[in-house]
């Protein structure tokens, strides 16, 4: 009796969508009902491919003289004959398939570990984010505290994360067949935690070290983090073509950042922001203090910059800020 061969039909994402158990010296695949494996792909010939064993016993696929031919996975050159080692994928019409025989070695089973469930982790992350958000609201509170000032932003945040994860879960379901809501939720929560930590960090570091670009350009970091989150979501959808996914996400991030940076650079004539806008307790200052004479020496240096500005004619670009019309 001939050994068993499995013909596996794959999706565009190379996931198995159907598996046929066949045997015999020669297996025929095509659209017609005379074949061993029947595939409803309009681009397939009635009899398209036959699979049999060569002298060494390896499985070989051969094109049965069809109009559309046979291809090796994604390559565009037609092939007549190819040895199937169990991992090679061939494309006929719009169908991807591979063949494996009973001797194909599968990987060892994964040991069954006691894993922490997704939900406790998600809840812990959500609690951390909401806690930090509530804390930063409280630290910015200068009026008498009211619950109405805390609840809407926190609920909004929670609703936002849930809808974001749900949207990705729907995309995931469409493209890979599984929603994976928990995975998507985890990705969103971890990303949001990083975002929250970064914005607090940027504000403190900006004040502590007089490093104001970190605050005025914090959107660069934020968009980069959001891009990373999107990339991670795309990875959850499917592990294939990661480079293309990364490229697309990075390109979108760069375009968004550029679109926001351009007006900032052009507006710098009017509002140079090289002093603290968000004050923090004096104890958080890390940079060394200057002496008074050092300050006035810097002030003198500023004069020469102003005199250089004066020498430049007032450029015609941009519209002027409203001038005071007090008489």
């Amino acid at each position: 009796m001939d050994p068993v061969i499995w013909i596996e039909i794959l999706s565009r994402h190379r996931a198995v969508v159907a598996r046929y158990r066949v045997s015999g010296p020669e297996i025929r695949i095509g659209r017609g009902y005379g074949n061993d494996v029947v595939i409803d792909d309009p681009y397939l010939a009635v009899e398209h491919v036959r699979i049999r064993r060569d002298e060494s016993g390896a499985l070989v696929a051969e094109d049965i003289g069809t109009a559309n031919g046979m291809f090796s996975d994604r390559s565009t050159g037609k092939i007549e004959r190819v040895v199937l080692d169990g991992d090679r994928i061939i494309r006929i019409g719009q169908t991807y398939l591979r063949a494996r025989d009973a001797s194909y070695a599968v990987v060892r089973e994964r040991p069954l570990k006691r894993q922490i469930g997704t939900w406790p982790v998600a809840l812990a992350l959500a609690a951390a984010i909401l806690g930090m958000e509530a804390l930063s609201l409280w630290l910015g509170e200068t009026n008498s505290p009211k619950l109405s000032r805390y609840l809407p932003p926190l609920l909004g945040l929670a609703a936002g994360v849930l809808s974001w994860s749900a949207a990705w879960a729907i995309l995931c379901r469409i493209f890979s067949g599984q929603a994976r809501f928990e995975r998507n939720l985890l990705v969103a929560l971890v990303g949001l935690l990083v975002l929250t930590l970064y914005s607090d960090f940027a504000e403190s570091v900006g004040f502590a070290l007089s490093w104001y670009p970190i605050a005025s350009y914090d959107y660069v970091a934020s968009y980069s983090i959001v891009a990373a989150i999107c990339f991670w979501h795309l990875r959850v959808i499917g592990p294939s073509r990661l480079k293309i996914k990364a490229g697309v996400v990075a390109a979108l991030a760069v375009i968004t950042i550029a679109a926001q940076t351009l007006p900032q650079i052009e507006a710098r004539d009017y509002a140079p922001q090289n002093y603290a806008r968000h004050l923090m307790p004096p104890a958080l200052r890390l940079a060394p203090l200057r002496s008074e004479s050092g300050f006035f020496a810097d002030v003198e240096r500023l004069k020469s910059r102003l005199d250089r500005d004066r020498a430049k004619p007032a450029s015609a670009s941009g519209d002027s800020a409203p001038s005071d019309s007090e008489d």
Binding site: T142, S144, D269, P282, A283, D307, D309, A314, D324, S325
Partner: protein
């Protein structure tokens, strides 16, 4: 803060509408005027040929863009008016030209001979050399006019025709750095540059401005500045069109040098805010106002006590450019029950960013700022400070800057003294000197 503004009396193109313009009823002529008004009648009859309406005309359109008044003084067609009446022409001689209209409807071109920006005066010349002219009052030049004396102000208000207004001399304005006479009388836009004469017809002062929000509170430039400027104009130093801007810059520079010298001479006194001490000028031309949030309802979680002193030294340069202003503001913030982070957030909301007035690209370079955290002095009475210095230069006036300095004490997380100093039209050197003095005066005694 209560800050009264002054209206300069050149009527600009905006125009004014008359509420109810009915034709005058043809009633029989009024009985002959009583003796009281005869002085004004006599004065106006004598002054009429010596008065001018001065109009700034847009060359391209041939229509007036602002109007003021002026008067002939001295033989040879010399006339006095306000600098602000001719300022458009002075700054843009290619765009505008000056014209006069006399009471007899004769018209002609005007030549600008000299300007005095700080005293808001200008000397112009008409093309008629034989016109009658006013005499300047020697008593006024020497400062000997008694308070309460009748003065008669003349000019062409709102383009309605030449007018004479009776009022009272009320002496020099006490709180003004630039000398001005307080005249109680109805001076209206368009009368700028017109004369105010005593009963003998001699000029005591020149109409310049009125106080908005007051009644009949008007100001005159003392006649002695006109005497000095006229002497300069007759000295044949021609003011070329190209050199006017540089001349304006020179005058502001010289004026601010005098101003900061007197601020220094007038001295300072120490004032205290909680545990902090700071400096206040004792010069009489500073007006100070204080306000507090302590009484607010609901009770604020941090209180702010603000003292703001500003000088009455504003100079008119152009309709969109005033300079010469000095302002010192202290704000003492004290936390009632805010924690250090909340108090810092409160400061971020309430401490104004160091921006100096309005900004127009036409006059100023962009503002540049420098921030530094300055260490406390070794003796400990100077607290740690955060200082922000912002400055911008004037495109047209070399050596002049607008400077704003803000310092904030950093020795406590529950109370802070913010000192904000704003100096307009100042030399860099003077700004540094003043800022250093104020910065060093911020002290803390626990």
């Amino acid at each position: 803060m209560k800050q009264l503004s002054i209206l300069l009396l050149a009527a600009l193109a905006a125009g004014s509408s008359v509420a109810c313009a009915q034709p005058a009823p043809s009633s029989p002529p009024p009985p002959p005027s009583v003796a009281r008004s005869s002085a004004a009648e006599r004065l106006y009859a004598a002054a009429r040929p010596k008065l001018l309406q001065i109009r700034t005309v847009v060359v391209a359109a041939g229509q007036q863009s602002s109007i003021g008044s002026g008067f002939l003084v001295g033989a040879g067609g010399f006339a006095i008016t306000n600098y602000h009446v001719v300022s458009q022409f002075a700054l843009e001689p290619a765009t505008y030209r000056l014209e006069y209209t006399a009471a007899d409807a004769s018209r002609g071109e005007l030549t600008l001979l000299a300007i005095d920006v700080p005293n808001d005066l200008a000397v112009v010349r008409i093309d008629k050399r034989d016109a009658p002219f006013f005499q300047l009052d020697a008593r006024a030049v020497a400062g000997g006019v008694p308070k309460g004396e009748h003065l008669y102000s003349m000019g062409n208000p709102l383009d309605l025709g030449f007018t004479i207004v009776e009022g009272t001399y009320n002496g020099p304005v006490e709180r003004s750095y630039n000398e001005r006479i307080h005249f109680t009388g109805a001076v209206n836009p368009g009368m700028s540059g017109g004369p105010a004469v005593a009963a003998d017809g001699r000029v005591v002062g020149i109409n310049v401005s009125k106080q908005l929000g007051g009644e009949l509170v008007s100001f005159l430039v003392p006649a002695r500045f006109a005497v000095a400027l006229l002497k300069r104009a007759q000295g044949n130093v021609l003011l070329s069109r190209e050199s006017i801007r540089a001349e304006i810059g020179r005058q502001i520079a010289a004026w601010q040098a005098g101003l900061y010298k007197s601020v220094d001479e007038q001295g300072f006194r120490s004032i205290s805010f909680g545990p902090y001490r700071a400096l206040e000028s004792t010069a009489p031309w500073f007006t100070c106002w204080a306000r507090t949030t302590a009484g607010q309802v609901p009770k604020p979680r941090a209180t702010v006590d603000t003292t703001s002193c500003y000088s009455d030294t504003r100079l008119f340069i152009a309709s969109d450019l005033n300079t010469g202003f000095i302002q010192v503001t202290y704000s003492y913030f004290r936390s009632v029950d805010l924690n250090p982070f909340q108090f810092a957030a409160f400061l971020s909301q309430h401490v104004e960013s160091p921006q100096i007035g309005g900004w127009s690209k036409k006059w100023y370079t962009q503002q540049r700022c420098h921030e530094e955290f300055i260490a406390a002095s070794a003796t400990g009475d100077h607290p740690r400070l955060r200082a922000v210095w912002c400055a911008r230069a004037y495109h047209e006036f070399a050596g002049l800057y607008d400077v704003s300095v803000s310092t904030m004490t950093q020795n406590s997380s529950s109370e802070v003294l913010v000192a904000a100093l704003s100096l307009q039209g100042v030399s860099y050197e003077n700004a540094v000197t003043v800022a250093k003095r104020f910065l060093e005066a911020v002290q803390w005694t626990p």
